[in-house]
């Protein structure tokens, strides 16, 4: 019980800490600012969650987001049709990776580690030096300012609700999660594990694309290295959100909460704690270790 509440609790803890350090941050503008990058992080985390649901891991999601960002800031603006074709093709590559990993029984860590260099290289080819510009429609979408509730919070709610419905409530979502829980049982019941793997990887590709586009909508221009930190953030977000590396136990709502926690803990909280920027990355890691350790302790006690 406590365990399923842990993602929400850790988010609440971070928000309370921020409120205590700097009460003025708890406002419409404060949240809009602090959660600035939460949408792409949440989308990348959801992307990672799909592969983890199938007992795999994607080490290329960060550079993939960077590649998508470079395509978004160049072709998607200048030649929208070509840009769309490239992005859809990238999702297709993810689907093929899923098929390859299943058919050849390869470790996904190895395959996606290799792919991370491929995406990085492609990103540099597309955009050798930082620049480009986001399409206008994307800029205006990400700059949307709804009344009362900051946009990142609304976006997080929508993402969580849509993915929760798709993965946790639909009848095929059950099959997708079952493929992580007990693949042998699924095969005996007559389901194709190739199809589930392809579907999960394609969904990862889709949300990776959405993440890259959202990121460029916020930053307005791209850089080939822009997404590199997302790989580990996304994995940490899934685990922070109550997911497990094996066994098909994942939670979309938890993953989004985990991503928000990471986004807040990353720099706003540390800045308010007057931790110098040089130390923030290390402090961020320390926070991650503490939260994940708490999770392990609590789930061990409940067992």
């Amino acid at each position: 019980m406590l365990r399923s509440l842990l993602p929400a609790l850790s988010l609440a803890l971070v928000v309370i800490a921020i409120a205590w350090l700097n009460p003025r941050a708890i406002s419409y503008f404060g949240f809009t600012l602090m959660l600035n990058l939460a949408i792409p992080i949440a989308l990348a985390t959801i992307a990672q969650m799909f592969v983890i649901a199938g007992n795999e891991l994607d080490l290329s999601i960060g550079t993939f987001v960077g590649f998508v960002g470079c395509v978004t800031a160049t072709w998607l603006k200048d030649a929208p049709l070509l840009g769309v074709i490239i992005l859809v093709g990238a999702i297709g590559v993810y689907a093929l990776l899923g098929a390859l990993i299943h058919l050849r029984n390869l470790p996904s860590i190895v395959v996606t580690l290799g792919m991370s260099f491929v995406w990085q290289g492609l990103a540099i080819l597309v955009l050798p030096k930082p620049g480009g510009k986001a399409p206008d429609w994307l800029l205006s979408l990400m700059a949307f300012k709804p009344p009362y509730i900051p946009f990142p919070i609304i976006a997080a709610l929508v993402i969580a609700a849509v993915v929760h419905f798709g993965l946790m409530r639909t009848s095929y979502g059950v099959i997708l999660r079952g493929s992580g829980g007990n693949p042998a049982a699924l095969r005996r019941a007559g389901w194709s594990l190739l199809r589930t793997k392809i579907t999960l990887f394609a969904l990862t590709g889709l949300f990776g694309v959405l993440s890259g586009m959202a990121l460029i909508g916020i930053t307005t221009s791209a850089d080939a290295n822009i997404g590199n930190g997302y790989t580990l953030l996304a994995i940490a977000g899934v685990i922070l959100g109550g997911g497990e590396f094996v066994g098909g136990r994942v939670s979309p709502i938890g993953a989004v909460l985990g991503a928000l926690t990471l986004a807040l803990a990353a720099s706003p909280l540390l800045t308010f704690m007057h931790i110098p920027p040089d130390w923030q990355v290390a402090a961020n890691g320390a926070i991650l270790i503490i939260v994940l350790a708490a999770r392990v302790l609590i789930s061990r006690r409940e067992r």
Partner: protein, 489 residues
């Protein structure tokens, strides 16, 4: 009705090989509608292989399958389900991360669209109520949180739920293994009702009483063949046991080392299984070979591992007075270091003897390996070769050399001779007896009854407990089967 049509399924001359092992050797098997067929036999007799074929999860290497008189050439799980043939497998096949309703959905492709959750929940709840009134399971429970007994109840109930595909034949492979007497009774009563209403069942069980009371016809398998098939009324317990075990007495290696060991030699191991409730315990003295018998997975390995752990850290109920070495049963996962040479694989248990200063002396390691190469006959041109250059039997010899070359006075053997050719086996038996004569103690878990002929005492295990203790002169296969199949009182 035509005779052919009353057969739900018929297999003619079914064969299956796994490498050199013949799991099924030309088996004829059929089930007619409205009957419950009991299938009995030892571990490894081929029952599970046969059932995997009926369920479509394994393809036969030879022979024919016909369903309702129609020959099936492309038989598969999906085809079997469509034809109304289902299987409850012995290994639990629920997804632990899903709820009971969601697990039901996995077996019913028809459960989709709006409101599928409600339909799935109603379907499984109704069937659970029908088979196990007072079951206390909610359709929203997550499978992994349920006890093993309840998971088995869910799995059985799920096999009997019907949506789009018909339901004619259900294979129940050890369906009561995790159920208590009360729920097992409920299940068997339901099976009788199901059969009375025209359905068919194949019931596999190690509890012979269950089979005798509930099956209409009993098929007995041994060594990949059907050795008897007759109406259940034609069998009684003794006839079943005799047919399963092979009545002919096995020739004993006994004579050559019949000399009883003096009872006064020091006690090396004294152990009581964790689940033992009565006073029975296992006592092993220096120079004794103790056999651990019974059906696979009834606590023999657990006790060996507990003894192994007790050698380094005290455990209640277990007393170990000398160094211990373990010869693992699952060579590939628990025994071998795949990247290492044969010498390194042998030396790992004896590092303290091989040390010179802070480092391992390659000379001493090579000397140890060479000694055992000669002694045990490991067939390789060079002990520095990778361990995988050896055949399976020789890899196992290397693992024996690892244990026997160490300072261990107690050697635990976890069914180490699985899949080893007979020549190697005889060499190892010889070696074990020789080492025992020098005062070493062996605790030997084996699933092969003839290996027990090498033992001084045999303890038969059932459900994690020692249920019988036989001296070597009392040892017969019948006795072991009697004790290991003994219905829980």
């Amino acid at each position: 009705m035509l005779e052919a049509n009353t057969n739900i399924i018929r297999l003619n001359g079914a064969e299956k090989h796994f490498g050199a092992v013949r799991a099924l050797n030309g088996v004829d098997f059929h089930v007619v509608s409205g009957e419950c067929v009991g299938l009995v036999g030892h571990n490894g007799a081929g029952k599970s292989t046969l059932m995997h074929m009926v369920a479509g999860t394994l393809r036969p290497d030879g022979g024919e399958i016909a369903v309702r008189g129609n020959a099936e050439t492309e038989y598969s799980v999906a085809r079997a389900l469509k034809l109304g043939i289902r299987c409850v497998f012995q290994e639990l096949s629920l997804c632990p991360n899903l709820s009971i309703a969601e697990n039901t959905r996995i077996n019913h492709p028809a459960l989709t669209g709006f409101g599928w959750r409600r339909k799935a929940a109603a379907l499984i709840a109704a069937k659970l109520d029908e088979i196990f009134p007072d079951h206390g399971i909610s359709a929203d429970d997550v499978a992994g949180d349920l006890s093993i007994g309840r998971r088995q109840m869910v799995e059985v109930a799920r096999a009997f739920t019907v949506t789009r595909d018909p339901l004619d034949l259900v294979i129940l492979d050890e369906p009561t293994s995790s159920l208590d007497a009360h729920t097992a009774g409920q299940l068997l009563a339901f099976v009788r009702r199901f059969v009375a209403s025209g359905g068919s069942c194949i019931l596999i069980s190690h509890v012979l009483g269950e089979v005798l009371q509930n099956a209409d016809r009993i098929v007995v398998m041994r060594d990949g063949k059907v050795v008897a098939a007759d109406a259940a009324t034609a069998f009684d317990r003794d006839r079943l046991v005799a047919t399963m075990g092979g009545a002919e007495a096995r020739e004993k290696i006994a004579t050559e080392f019949a000399a009883a060991r003096p009872a006064g030699s020091p006690v090396r191991v004294r152990a009581r299984p964790a689940r033992q409730e009565d006073g029975k315990e296992l006592v092993a003295r220096a120079g004794e070979i103790i056999g651990l018998a019974g059906l696979a997975g009834h606590g023999q390995t657990d006790l060996l591992l507990a003894i192994f752990a007790a050698a380094t850290r005290r455990k209640p109920g277990i007393e170990v007075t000398a160094p211990v070495a373990l010869v693992a049963g699952d060579r590939q996962s628990d025994g071998i270091f795949p990247q290492w040479s044969i010498s390194e694989n042998i030396g790992i248990r004896s590092l303290s003897q091989l040390r010179k200063g802070l480092l391992i002396s390659p000379q001493r390691e090579a000397a140890l390996a060479e000694f055992w190469k000669q002694k045990i006959g490991i067939r390789t041109p060079d002990m520095a070769n990778n361990i995988f250059s050896l055949s399976g039997g020789n890899q196992q010899k290397a693992l024996f050399a690892r244990a026997l070359g160490s300072d261990a006075e107690i050697v635990l053997m976890d069914d180490p001779m699985r899949g080893v050719d007979i020549g190697t086996k005889l060499e190892v038996y010889e070696l074990v007896r020789e080492e025992a004569a020098k005062g070493r103690t062996f605790l030997w878990y084996t699933t092969e009854t003839e290996e027990l002929d090498n033992c001084d005492h045999i303890h038969v295990f059932k459900n994690g407990r020692i249920v019988a203790h036989l001296g070597r002169d009392e040892l017969t296969e019948e006795k072991i089967i009697q004790s290991s199949f003994g219905d829980a009182a």
